[in-house]
């Protein structure tokens, strides 16, 4: 099997290289043939001469060559898919002669995790990356008729990126490397932390996001190289970008949920370099999704968008470099090896290539920017982009600062959550203000009067909520009785919640105002009118729903200020009180399964003197890898999560040591993500054509107007 996999990888590399080189040659000849043909026709006064027929033949030949390059790109997908299938089959067959399978699987590993072995280690995850890239390329090359020339350029760029990953797989991180000497009877097993259902879907989602940003980058670079006229490439890549963004969002938050559910420290985001690596392209990608509207609507920010899309792609690769090179220490950088050098070179090459073509063809991107007012949607997008890019820069700066500090002052420093809380939260709050104000601004110019009129009630609502949260008693729940003068974190939480209310109200007012207009014209109910409104401009109103999802997430983050925790050794009948909950230890025991042994406690949970639940936190010992892992038990509600971790046993008396966390508003984060994804899904739906009222010819219906439907 290993031979088949290795051959498939070599074949994929050869096909990719052909697709790249033949694609370049074909495009070069096509360009030359086009310009020569027009010159020849001009010279012969429009009469077809022997010279022009030779050029036509040359052009046809280059088109045929381009077609073979496209087909080679498609065949690359087949070859990489074959290699991936072979690796998965090897995992299911417990083929420990392959080093990768030996190090990441074992006989008793459940089936879904054997499938997940494909992306659980260094080599496999690179193969998976290559597979996703080939799959995206496959779809792109099938849809080439949309604009054959632009797609051919994008295809060449994709092939270039694919070559890099296939070179890595063939020469630096071979997934089919054979074990030397005696083959062990069983494998080392999968890292226990990865043996969790979400780990089966988190990496694919994240990688779909990372890899997906190669597509807009490929189109952008292609458009830059060929000096593509107009904004069509933006229209072509809009859906790609949104889908990719949704995947990345999903991947980032699945990672957060996995950390929350598995790592057992009670949090979901630790500002670890690997987490930061996933956040950075998300931030620039989000900035791009906003600024691209400026280019579509007003033809502005062409250069800036080029840089944003490149930065997003580049940061995705940089994140992978951070994860795998070992250059920055991280708890869950899952592998350290020499492939960091390969990534460093690739980053340099892509930067040089992009900068070269940017400066060569930047005149093509020059536009006459004209703004009428500072108070306009255009300005809000500029500030929005500044804040997103600044947040990205802050995360990048914080991630690299230990290394910079080591170079400058000779010693490393830690840059953890307290740093980001101080620096990133104020910027994020500013961004939240802009999220509230932005939708109320019109393109070109907004009068201060209309801004005040639209902004007054949302602001009053937000201030009322802030006052309400301050004066209510704390016994009402985590977010009540907030005294911002007691702690800076309370101040930030109050600001975050109030601004979230402000955003929600502005979004609601946009739906209400639009719905009211439609309702007035059609006589429909308000809800039906709002649905129709959304369907008529799915991108705008889907975007508002995404904004609403973001504020729900932010409210969830704001809850972190009210978290509590308590640690206790608990024998039979021992009691622990945390917040409104009382936990009584009913029992503790152990169990044995083929893959792991486990210890667990049984706790009765009381609230207000009434038993409401029984919880069973577990600690597992995985036999193959000889590692332990906790499986916290989490009882979620809208107000708070009761999160219990089985930390271990007291060696003297055998009593379990349990840690209980009361994490406020965490469920809001996961709900917010769903709302964001629903909003993105809505934004992807094509707009419904807007009905237009036209007067019917007098001879047919003298008094009535008839409703007809416009085209696209």
């Amino acid at each position: 099997m290993a031979e088949i996999g290795s051959f498939a990888l070599l074949l994929a590399l050869a096909l990719s290289a052909y697709s790249f080189i033949a694609g370049i040659v074909a495009l070069a000849f096509q360009s030359r043939a086009s310009s020569s043909l027009s010159l020849a026709l001009q010279g012969s006064g429009g009469v077809v001469s022997s010279e022009s027929s030779f050029i036509t033949t040359l052009r046809r030949g280059s088109e045929r060559m381009g077609e073979t390059a496209r087909r080679a790109g498609i065949a690359t997908f087949a070859a990489v898919l074959l290699a991936s299938v072979v690796l998965v089959i090897c995992a299911f067959r417990d083929d420990f002669s392959i080093a990768y399978i030996l190090h990441h699987s074992n006989r008793d590993l459940p089936g879904p995790y054997k499938f997940a072995v494909l992306w659980s280690g260094q080599e496999g995850s690179l193969l998976f990356w290559s597979l996703l890239l080939a799959a995206y390329g496959f779809v792109l090359r099938l849809r080439y008729k949309t604009d054959a020339r632009l797609f051919a350029y994008a295809s060449v760029v994709l092939s270039g990126v694919q070559i890099f990953f296939l070179l890595l797989l063939n020469f630096a991180a071979h997934p089919f490397a054979i074990v030397e000497g005696t083959i062990p009877a069983d494998g080392n097993g999968l890292n226990p932390l990865l043996q969790y259902p979400e780990m089966v879907i988190h990496p694919p989602m994240l990688y779909l996001g990372y890899v997906g940003f190669t597509i807009p980058f490929a189109f952008a670079l292609g458009a830059l190289i060929m000096k593509y006229p107009g904004e069509k490439w933006i229209h072509i890549t809009r859906r790609w970008t949104m889908v990719t963004w949704a995947f990345l969002t999903c991947g980032v938050f699945l990672g957060a949920h996995w950390a929350y559910s598995v790592l057992g420290w009670g949090g979901y985001w630790g500002w670890d370099p690997v987490e930061n690596a996933s956040l950075m392209p998300w931030l620039t990608g989000t900035a791009f999704l906003h600024s691209v509207m400026m280019q579509e609507k007003r033809g502005m920010l062409k250069m800036w968008n080029m840089w944003l899309v490149f930065a997003t792609f580049w940061l995705a690769i940089l994140g992978t470099f951070l994860t795998r090179s070992g250059i920055i220490s991280s708890v869950h950088a899952f592998a350290q090896s020499s492939i960091g050098d390969w990534f460093a070179w690739f980053l340099c090459i892509t930067l040089v290539v992009f900068v070269f073509f940017f400066f060569k063809n930047k005149s093509h991107l020059r536009t006459e920017h004209k703004l009428e007012s500072l108070v306009s949607r255009e300005s809000s997008f500029l500030f929005n982009n500044l804040l997103f890019v600044l947040l990205c820069f802050t995360v990048l700066w914080g991630t690299w600062f230990p290394k910079i500090s080591e170079l400058v002052q000779g010693n490393k420093v830690t840059v953890g959550a307290p740093f980001y809380n101080r620096v990133a939260i104020p910027v994020a709050l500013l961004l939240l203000i802009l999220t509230a104000v932005g939708p109320l601004l019109a393109w070109r110019k907004t009068s201060l009067e209309s801004l005040k009129r639209n902004f007054m009630w949302p602001t009053i609502g937000a201030i009322a909520v802030a006052i309400f949260l301050m004066i209510t008693p704390q016994s009402w729940g985590s977010a009540f009785g907030l005294k911002p003068w007691q702690d800076i974190s309370y101040f930030y939480s109050l600001m975050a919640i109030s601004l979230s209310v402000l955003v929600t109200l502005t979004v609601a007012s946009e739906f209400y105002r639009g719905g009211r207009v439609i309702s007035k014209h059609t006589g429909q109910g308000m809800f039906a009118s709002m649905v129709q409104l959304t369907h008529r401009n799915t991108r705008r109103y889907g975007g508002y729903i995404v904004h609403f999802g973001v504020v729900v997430v932010i409210i969830g983050f704001a809850g972190a200020a009210f978290n509590q925790d308590k640690e206790m050794e608990m024998g039979y009948g021992d009691k622990m009180t945390i917040g409104p909950y009382t936990l009584i230890c009913r029992s503790y025991t152990d169990d044995d399964a083929p893959n792991y042994a486990s210890e667990w406690a049984v706790l009765d949970v009381y609230k207000g003197g009434k038993q409401i639940d029984t919880m069973t936190p577990v600690r597992r010992f995985y036999k193959a890898s000889q590692q332990t892992s906790t499986m916290p038990d989490i009882r979620s509600s809208l107000n708070e999560d009761l999160y219990i971790v089985f930390e271990g046993l007291n060696q003297d008396n055998g009593h379990p040591i349990l840690k209980a966390h009361l994490n406020a508003l965490v469920m809001w984060i996961w709900m917010g993500v769903w709302i964001m994804l629903i909003g993105t899904g809505l934004a992807l739906i094509p707009n419904a054509p807007a009905p237009v009222r036209v007067a019917a010819p007098a001879r047919l219906k003298p008094t009535q107007a008839e409703s007809v439907v416009t085209g696209d």
Partner: protein, 167 residues
């Protein structure tokens, strides 16, 4: 209420920003100072040095060779009434600078905090300049016989365009 809004809108942005920053500073300085709160606060500014890369008070593995001892030391220091900076210094001397969860505000470490805010201010300044430059660009000349629409008529067309394109 509209008067209130009018007065707010006429205040200078600088004053509002100043008030906001002052509030942040005041709230930052108004921390409760009982030993339990100080223990929690300082404990969340420190890292466990066992290699788990977790905040000291969030290090969750039983049998950790470092965190129990470090917590006891912190508890003792807070109990003695040592100032925050003294506690920090003693931990740095014993465990090295990586024990602090964030860079200090001394020496080169200050750059960690300054640079993002400098970038923010520069970015804001740059965008304001860009917007001004774009705003002051001359309007392209119109063909003969055409006159630009201005004032109320322009507003009317704008409203119409918004209604027809956004809904």
């Amino acid at each position: 209420m509209s008067r209130l809004f009018h007065s707010i809108s006429t205040r200078s942005a600088g004053k509002l920003l100043g008030t906001f920053l002052l509030c942040v500073a005041v709230f930052a300085l108004l921390g409760a100072s009982d030993p339990a709160t100080r223990f929690t606060e300082i404990g969340h500014q420190m890292m466990c040095i066992c290699g788990c890369n977790q905040i000291l008070l969030e290090c969750n593995h039983v049998g950790c060779p470092a965190s129990d001892g470090m917590r006891n030391e912190l508890m003792a220091a807070v109990g003695r009434g040592d100032s925050d900076s003294l506690v920090e210094q003693s931990f740095v001397q014993k465990y090295g600078p990586t024990v602090l969860a964030a860079p200090t505000t001394r020496g080169f470490d200050r750059a960690a905090y300054i640079i993002p805010f400098v970038a923010l201010i520069l970015g804001f300044g740059l965008i304001v300049l860009v917007i001004r430059a774009w705003k002051n660009r001359p309007t392209p000349a119109l063909a003969d016989g055409l006159s630009p629409v201005r004032g109320a008529a322009l507003e009317q067309f704008r409203d119409q365009a918004r209604k027809e394109t956004d809904l």
